[in-house]
Symmetry: C2
Subunit: 216 residues, 2 copies
């Protein structure tokens, strides 16, 4: 397809597609003349992923580029790339504060939780994972804020996340090709995050109403 | 207690406490002389909440002030304030794009989901809730990104959120006073969000490893 059709089918304006091409977020099309190039379904799929990361996930271009490097990492076998790409999604929490006793205690608590859940990953050292650092940073922040939490508080969170992880991988497996699955894993991870946070807040309002609200 | 002890016990530097006082995020202490004031346990608790919202939840000061208005709303009965305060927590997703067909379809899907979950809230019109707008905005973004989702995809998310809502309210009920509970509801909602997102990403990596990873 030509650029105009790629833009039309993705809903991404031509100027934005050209910007993504210049920034290396989208591979060049196949040249058919000095001024013309054609694009295929893979371009369309990649464009959707880039749009999801940047426009919905509000990722900076440089960060999206790093995520795509993990998505395209041919050194990994076809399927481990799914875990690796999600594992490497950046943490947009505040910059990690200096190591302190709260952070050490948080890392111990996180490790205890992952051991209880039986999660071993098998991919890489968990310390390299932004997702792991996000968890530890959040637990340290709770400790520092005077709202410490315990393993018992965290277990239901871990179990709920585990159920959603399986649901997410089911969605990923609907995509047929290997690279389609890797891209979907990254896109669905990012796109469902505000869904999950919004639903949790609504669930709290609902639960509060059930427990404390005036009947009628 | 004096300002120095308030700072020491909360871990918030004196200069920051003074800034929160000037910005009206913390009520003035009780004056004991022209230059001295004393603070109590309620000040300490409020200071922890403000710290959680601003430092961990990265909320702008003006937004934190709005949240505290909901927390302190005396027009509501003691307990409905919990739901109302969480309900009113701001959505930091990108500014809502103009109404379009994706947004209309997303609102219908969200309403269908809430009906299936049996959530009625009983607080106010759901359209006024940032949490509801966050959900609808996220669903519209998925549609626009070419990753549409269905009611069947969303139900496990709704059920997981419902379970966590009950867990969260159990944590809130550990606090004894009414205003302590409202403050805890807001703080715990914000503080557990990165915990939940980090755990879901780790769960996906774990699940991917289980399904596709090389044994050993």
């Amino acid at each position: 397809m030509r650029m105009a059709e790629l833009s039309e089918r993705s809903g991404v304006p031509t100027a934005t597609v050209k910007y993504y091409l210049r920034e290396g977020l989208l591979r060049p099309g196949r040249r058919i003349s000095a001024t013309r190039a054609v694009y295929d379904e893979e371009h369309l799929r990649r464009l959707r992923l880039v749009r999801a990361l940047i426009q919905v996930g509000r990722m900076p271009v440089a960060t999206a580029r790093e995520v795509l490097v993990a998505v395209d990492d041919e050194k990994l076998d076809h399927h481990s790339r799914i875990g690796a790409a999600v594992w490497a999604l950046p943490d947009d929490s505040p910059a990690a504060p200096p190591e302190d006793s709260a952070r050490e205690a948080a890392a111990r608590l996180a490790d205890e939780l992952l051991a209880r859940l039986g999660w071993t990953f098998g991919l890489a050292s968990r310390d390299d994972s932004p997702a792991y650092r996000m968890l530890v940073g959040a637990l340290a922040g709770m400790e520092r804020s005077g709202y410490p939490c315990t393993l018992a508080d965290l277990l239901p969170y871990g179990r709920a996340a585990g159920e959603l992880g399986a649901v997410d991988l089911d969605m990923v497996e609907r995509y047929e090709t290997g690279s389609g699955q890797v891209e979907a894993a990254v896109a669905l991870t990012v796109l469902y995050e505000p869904v999950l946070l919004g639903l949790r807040r609504l669930a709290e309002a609902e639960e509060s109403n059930r427990r404390f609200g005036k009947a009628g």
